[in-house]
């Protein structure tokens, strides 16, 4: 008998090696082409089964025969079994995957129905309320060593169904931080202190990190500024798109693969039928030949010769048909993997995004593509699951002008096609006028003016928006000094008291340095946060408007 100490030693050590082999098998699986890749759930199962079998055999033999075989035995058994699994998957019709697909099809229809039900309910809710995203008093601080950076302080806005909202402001006014805090992607020194982010009535800020994963990429997605750095440099573009489907659309993938398995079974049965037919024909031909030999060799029976020829012609036709069927069978079999289904979907979406040759692009690395192509791929990744809301964080700043316009046109077109609402973040007012339905102007963590785009561009109410619009250089006029907003962007750690814009404001008057302005609804759906339009201070505003101050430009 083997001593228990020996057994425990060997189990511990070979466990380490099994860990290594699991690691290696997963690595190999990630490297091979998508046709032959195995879903990770099945890979785990195969590893566990191989481990159980190898350990089982090894422990049984120690107790029955008392052999103290080396630790190499379970290890080699495990490696051989996992290798066999790969081999079976490679050569013999992927039976394991097929079974897995069939197993996952059992509750699939109910699950899909439930999903659709939920989606319909949500859509109905949307139609009734028409508010897709409702951000209320969002506050985000960064706790740095120098002090608390108050990046976003009480931002409220709504995005309705199927519309484009622009978010404009200078650099460092908290546009990107609001976008990131909607998706909870703020990095550690930053923290969301308060407020609500209601997405179709659900508060996203109260969800755990695992619950919010289901929203990211599925219902709310984001396009980043720099297309070069926002794609993983060592992954092929196709795999990055496929990954989104693997994250969110597992059930649907299995559903489509399952339909293909039925097709495979159909072709298989056809093939079997034809094989039996061929066998019957062959038998009958041999029978006739035998009869001819038996009767007499010298007399040539013309009738039976003709019959033989007929049957041989039929045989050749049948052979051709089986060849075609076999080809079809192999093709469908290659498609029945969920990874190849996902790849097909990825090719479709890449084509939608306006890339001409999707199959070839999917196999390229990001550094092999141009900047515009990369941004298109990013848009494809964002739209892969046809999300409700797309947050575009300055999607065109890193591109040159011609490609900018191409991308903008694409976004316009896709917005109509997919019916997504877009939150467009830029510092470019021209871009906003082209794309958006409504605008929110941000200044130093507050939304200063917020309403329909025509009104805002025609009669801007807040002095800051007024300055912004004046600061756009015009082509038709020749001016020596460009219009600017005097002063500096305020320090966010020690922000100015009261209205944060008052040190730079021409029309600053008594309440401005002390009181924080509230949002005032001047027209239905149009908000301004400025004391000038507050009915409280109606008497004092006249003097301020008539005598605007001159503010010195500080150079820092």
């Amino acid at each position: 008998m083997a001593s228990i100490n020996d057994i425990i030693d060997n189990i511990i050590f070979s466990g380490l090696i099994v860990l290594i082999s699991i690691f290696l098998s997963r690595l190999i699986n990630s490297v091979i082409s998508s046709n032959k890749r195995v879903p990770s759930r099945i890979l785990w199962k195969s590893n566990l089964i191989a481990m159980a079998i190898s350990y089982g055999i090894w422990i049984l033999q120690t107790f029955i025969f008392g052999l103290i075989l080396d630790f190499f035995v379970p290890m080699t058994l495990h490696v051989i079994l996992v290798g066999l699994f790969f081999g079976v998957n490679w050569f013999f019709g992927k039976k394991i995957i097929k079974n897995e697909i069939k197993r996952s099809l059992i509750g699939l229809e109910e699950r899909l129905k439930e999903k659709e039900k939920l989606r319909r309910e949500m859509d109905q809710k949307l139609k009734e309320e028409k508010v897709l995203l409702d951000v209320q008093d969002l506050i985000t601080y960064f706790y740095t060593e120098e002090g608390i950076v108050k990046a976003v302080e009480g931002v409220t806005f709504q995005i309705y169904e199927d519309e484009v909202l622009g978010l404009v402001g200078e650099t460092g006014c908290g546009k990107s931080v609001t976008a990131l805090s909607i998706l909870q992607l703020i990095r550690p020194p930053g923290e969301i202190v308060g407020g609500k982010v209601l997405f179709q009535g659900l508060d996203l800020l109260k969800k755990t990190s695992e619950e919010i994963q289901k929203f990211r990429g599925n219902q709310i997605t984001m396009i980043f500024q720099d297309p070069l750095n926002s794609l993983n440099p060592v992954m092929k573009v196709g795999n990055q798109i496929i990954e989104v489907y693997l994250n969110h659309k597992m059930d649907e993938l299995y559903g489509e693969a399952g339909q293909l398995t039925e097709e495979i079974d159909f072709i298989r049965s056809n093939l079997d039928l034809k094989k039996t037919l061929i066998n019957q024909l062959k038998e009958s031909i041999t029978e006739i030949k035998d009869q001819m030999e038996d009767t007499n060799e010298q007399i040539i029976d013309k009738k039976s010769l003709e019959i033989i020829q007929q049957k041989e012609d039929e045989l050749s036709v049948l052979f051709k048909e089986t060849k075609g069927l076999k080809k079809e069978y192999n093709e469908v079999k290659a498609k029945s993997n969920i990874f190849s289904v996902a790849r097909k979907w990825a090719a479709e979406i890449v084509k939608d995004v306006g890339i001409a040759d999707p199959e070839r692009i999917l196999d390229r690395y990001p550094h092999e593509l141009s900047g515009g192509m990369r941004q298109r791929v990013m848009i494809a990744i964002a739209l892969a699951c046809s999300p409700k809301l797309l947050i575009a964080d300055e999607p065109t700043t890193a591109l040159d002008v011609t490609i900018q316009s191409q991308i903008l046109q694409l976004m316009k077109q896709l917005q109509k096609e997919y019916k997504t609402s877009i939150l467009m973040i830029t510092h470019d007012l021209g871009l906003i006028s082209e794309l958006c339905d409504r605008v929110a102007v941000m200044y130093s963590g507050y939304i200063v003016e917020y309403g329909s785009i025509f009104k805002l561009f025609k009669t801007p109410l807040h002095p800051y928006t007024n300055g912004l619009i004046r600061a756009i250089p015009r082509v038709e006029k020749r001016v020596d000094d460009l219009a600017i907003i005097p002063g500096m962007v305020p320090n966010l750690i020690y922000p100015p008291s009261g209205c944060r814009f008052h040190p730079r404001c021409e029309y600053c008057f008594e309440p401005c340095p002390t009181n924080n302005p509230k949002q005032i609804e001047t027209e239905p759906g149009y908000f301004v946060a400025c004391h000038l339009y507050d009915p409280k201070y109606k008497d004092m505003t006249k003097n301020a408007i008539e005598n605007p101050k001159k503010i010195k430009q500080e150079v820092g």
């Binding site: 994963q213 980043f224 794609l231 994250n247």
Partner: protein, 354 residues
Amino acid sequence: MNEKIKRTVFSRQFWGKNYDKMKLFRKKQFENTIKMEGDTRKERFVRYLKFFFLPCFRASEINRVEFEIGKIKSKRTFFRRFLTPLTILGVICLLFIFWCAVFPNWASKYTFEEIAVWVNIYDPAYDTPSLKHPLGTGGSAWDILARNIWSSRFSLQISFLAVAIAFVIGILLGIISAYAGGWVDNILMRVVDAFVVFPALILAFLFIAIWGNKLQYIMIALGLSGIPAYARIARASALQEKSKLYVDAGKAAGASRFKIMFKHILPNAWTPLIVRVTFHLAVATLSVAGLSFLGFAVSDVPTWGWDINAARSHMYRAPWAMVWPGVWITIAALGFQLIGDGLRDVLDPKLKLL
């Protein structure tokens, strides 16, 4: 190519009877390079016309072909950069050692039983090199060449598994601690620091003292002592990658924590780890030899270090018995080291310019 050489190479005199064949072959080659998928003769003709008469005309297919060629070229440059004389020497060393380790039955005339068994420890039979025993005999009258070949198998086994253990566990620890940050990072890295304190030798002493003289404990000791280097390298490069934008983009696409760690960050952090593996293999073979020199080896299993130790007392009488195992050790360590150098130069070309 020079004009003269061209003329001679493609002349009838040079090729003689095979001139026509050569011409046909060249023509076919040329056609094959321009022939494209789904291309009829008519289309090709139209393309030729366009090529000759339209200025700046270029078929889009040609761009594709050029791109593919560029890709292959970049792979070729990778290999060319790798194939310096020193790395070729390293590859040859390693091929030799691997041949010894994998096929010892073919490499030597003697079986394992003939070599590994001590007949009489107190009456060693050392013999000078002869035709029958090209490197001489040692110990219990065994052939030293065969003994070295067999012992390379066990040395490599130990060092490879030790490196594999250190590699897997170190990477897991390093990347998890880098990604999690905060107190998890602190605790994991302090545990790793604790491993630094134990030298491999002393860990091996400990294990052998507790559980007995076995090969696997030497492997585990070497593996555990190798963990901190991998953990620290993995942590450093993962920290660098973690701050990049594609991690955020991956999160925004809905990837889970482990997917981001092992699918996005780890492949970007590979290069320093792979280079470290080759250097660690060299160090591990050396330390295996050192351990067995000190006597921490199983008596049935031949290893280089053990042989050196056995021949030490007969150093003046039979120097060959001590020198040749040492030569094998240097070949193995040198091979790993040189390949590591080559790999580092290829994967990190910036370092070479410094």
